[in-house]
């Protein structure tokens, strides 16, 4: 029997589209708010809202530790969480390549369901388009989410202050490393898996010990290094990192050693960078280490008045050097 695949007819809006929605999406996303109408009608939400959208393309669509479905939920959940917003509702739009196996689509939807349920966000509306063969790479997903900001939480990339501690919630660069290996461009094998995870629970736990948190940002594309430069710029401060304190998995170190890459610039999909007053840092790290997605959380540096807009590394020989600025594409080097 030939494998069932998505066809252009599935995207034409007729009976086959309904079938696809029934069979794949409704089966996984069903909840009282999931709409069959043109727009979902939501109950009233109290308080201030967080509202965000993100597009997901990842090749290959499936990798060790997750797939594009899980990623598309985590991305939006984590963006909301960074603003102290409890994720409430989301929508998702699929662009699927003609010929994409239905069983794979099913697997993606199942991962989305599981991840959304874990943090209690509801998928309330969706859209499906089918593009001709070669027009997209497998499947692209866009998710949009809305969340309710916890009373007292007030975070922004602008709020980093000299003296703040800089915390990461776990070892850096595992997602980027996993994808690099999954593409099999460089012939390297390792059992490293993506850190991809929904982090509302993580944020909720630290907000339960203190609301005095200045910045929370998820270190996705560009990794922790890029996030630090963004925040140094936005807040007009310097950041000094203790190189030895930055947690990096041995497997990631091995891959980076082979290819001459910097782990701080490899993407994460389940790591937050948190800026908080120094006297709260220990409390926050202890709380983080109790959580399943942040067992190796660590203070990696502090915010400085000087060196505005720069990220400085304190090295293993007690000197200071600058973290090279992010430059986009990661390329292996021999020199």
């Amino acid at each position: 029997m030939s494998e069932q695949t998505v066809t252009l007819a599935h995207g034409a809006g007729g009976r086959q589209t309904s079938e696809l929605i029934e069979k794949v999406f409704k089966a996984h996303f069903s909840n009282p708010e999931f709409t069959a109408d043109d727009a979902a009608v939501l109950p009233k939400i109290e308080g201030r809202l967080g509202f965000t959208t993100d597009g997901f393309i990842v090749s290959p669509w499936k990798f060790s530790g997750g797939n594009i479905g899980k990623l598309s939920i985590c991305g939006t959940v984590n963006d909301l969480s960074c603003m102290g917003a409890r994720p409430k509702y989301m929508t998702c739009a699929f662009v699927i390549e003609e010929g994409f196996p239905l069983s794979d689509l099913e697997e993606i939807a199942a991962a989305m369901e599981k991840t959304a349920n874990e943090v209690g966000i509801k998928i309330v509306a969706g859209d499906t388009k089918v593009a001709g063969k070669g027009q997209v790479d497998g499947v692209f997903i866009t998710t949009t989410g809305i969340g309710e900001i916890v009373e007292g939480a007030d975070t922004s990339g602008k709020y980093a202050r000299p003296g703040d501690a800089v915390i990461v919630t776990g070892d850096v660069g595992r997602h980027g490393c996993t994808i690099l290996l999954a593409r099999d461009t460089y012939g390297i094998e390792s059992d490293v898996d993506s850190d991809c995870a929904p982090l509302w629970g993580t944020v909720e736990s630290i907000l339960s010990v203190t609301k005095d948190i200045h910045v929370i940002r998820d270190a996705t594309r560009g990794g922790v290094g890029t996030v630090l430069y963004e925040i140094a710029e936005q807040s007009g401060v310097g950041i000094a990192l203790d190189q030895a304190a930055i947690p990096v998995d041995e497997r990631v170190k091995g891959v980076c050693g082979l290819l001459g890459l910097e782990p701080l610039y490899l993407a994460c999909e389940g790591r937050l960078v948190i800026f908080a007053p120094d006297d709260k840092a220990q409390l926050i790290v202890e709380k983080l280490r109790e959580g399943k997605y942040s067992t190796n959380a660590a203070v990696i540096g502090h915010v400085t008045e000087e060196n505005k807009g720069r990220v400085i590394l304190e090295t293993e020989i007690g000197t200071q050097t600058i973290l090279p600025q992010p430059k986009g594409e990661l390329l292996p080097r021999i020199c």
Partner: protein, 350 residues
């Protein structure tokens, strides 16, 4: 920091003698010295300068143009070490060619490019063979494998370089050299020993970890204090006096010396390697009857002078204006440790 490192640091920071210029001639040393902040450690009067040891920085503009020609005019799949992708050519970099539809692929090893040619016989694969003695054996292994297997869709565009004649060109520009550990792992120490014995040129072979670099620097400073010419292998766990004879053999079997153009230093006689006549079928220039391509560097760019220490990056008109790490004009702005890039990122640092 362990005891050895502390001892090394004390020797380095405690130096109070005459001003010294110590030159490293290895891009990876430049990178590690930058990463470890070693320039902040050395006392005033000790200057660590970067010589022409980065294959990216010394690669002539015309070489990039040749690669772009193969990719765009001949439709070849161009495999390259990632380092070269952003280096500007006369018209465009390889990244620019890729945006125009060229098939440009970063690879980890030249042998991976051979594997690509083997698995896709309809594809014409070119590997950009740059680098010094450390890297050249890998390109020679690739050519040899391709010849043995009779692959007719694989070739090398060569710009391999060798150090001995570059050292000759550099004698006098520093009080001592930090020799590139991984080059000497292949070539052995004879050339460096001879420079010391015959011409009084001092130097140490260094490794790449914090401990290895600090040790080598400490040995170097002690040696200069004593005043006699010296040569010391500070990386014996990797570098043997005789080098790697099998690697030398394969280089001699597949390639032969040729004149080579260095960005900044110009043409240095017999400072390059090219494929021998028996391997002409694997030489991209022969295989594709390549016309003579002469690169035209941006006339405002002074990377050449910067590489020779004749001017500071900030003396260059385009520096920091049109030439930045995101939009490099010259090779020295491409990699983080390139002289211009480092200068740009450090400027104003407290």
């Amino acid at each position: 920091m362990n005891e050895q490192m502390k001892k090394a640091r004390d020797i380095i920071t405690g130096y109070k003698g005459r001003p010294l210029r110590i030159m490293e001639v290895c891009g990876t040393h430049t990178h590690e010295i930058f990463r470890l902040g070693i320039r902040k450690l050395v006392p005033e009067g000790v200057e660590i300068i970067s010589g022409p040891g980065c294959p990216v920085c010394v690669t002539a503009v015309g070489f990039i143009d040749e690669a772009v020609w193969l990719a765009l005019e001949k439709g070849c799949t161009v495999c390259t070490f990632g380092d070269l992708i952003k280096v500007p050519g006369t018209e465009m970099s390889l990244a620019g060619a890729r945006a125009k539809g060229a098939d440009i692929r970063p690879v980890y090893s030249p042998l991976d490019a051979v594997e690509l040619a083997r698995s896709e016989p309809d594809r014409q694969v070119v590997f950009l063979a740059v680098g010094f003695e450390t890297t050249t054996p890998s390109a020679c292994l690739a050519a040899k494998t391709a010849k043995e297997e009779g692959l007719d869709n694989f070739s090398l565009l060569t710009a391999n370089k060798t150090m001995p004649n570059a050292y000759n060109a550099l004698v006098g520009s520093a009080d001592a050299f930090i020799y590139p550990g991984h080059v000497n792992a292949i070539t052995g120490n004879a050339v460096c020993q001879r420079l010391c014995d015959e011409r009084g040129v001092s130097g140490v072979v260094a490794g790449f970890t914090a401990s290895e670099l600090m040790t080598a620097l400490a040995v170097c400073i002690r040696g200069l204090e004593k005043g006699e010419p010296f040569f010391k292998n500070c990386y014996p766990r990797v570098v043997k006096d005789e080098g790697n004879p099998a690697a030398i053999r394969i280089m001699e079997e597949v390639m032969e010396p040729c004149d080579s153009e260095w960005r900044g230093l110009g043409l240095i006689p017999l400072s390059g390697m090219k494929l021998r006549a028996e391997y002409a079928g694997f030489d991209s220039r022969v295989k594709y009857s390549m016309p003579k391509i002469t690169g035209k560097p941006n006339p405002a760019c002074r990377c050449g002078d910067v590489l020779q220490g004749k001017c500071k990056p900030s003396d260059c008109k385009v520096f920091g204006k049109v030439c930045t790490p995101l939009h490099p004009v010259g090779a020295c702005m491409v990699s983080d440790e390139g002289a211009c890039s480092a200068y740009y990122q450090y400027s104003g640092l407290v």
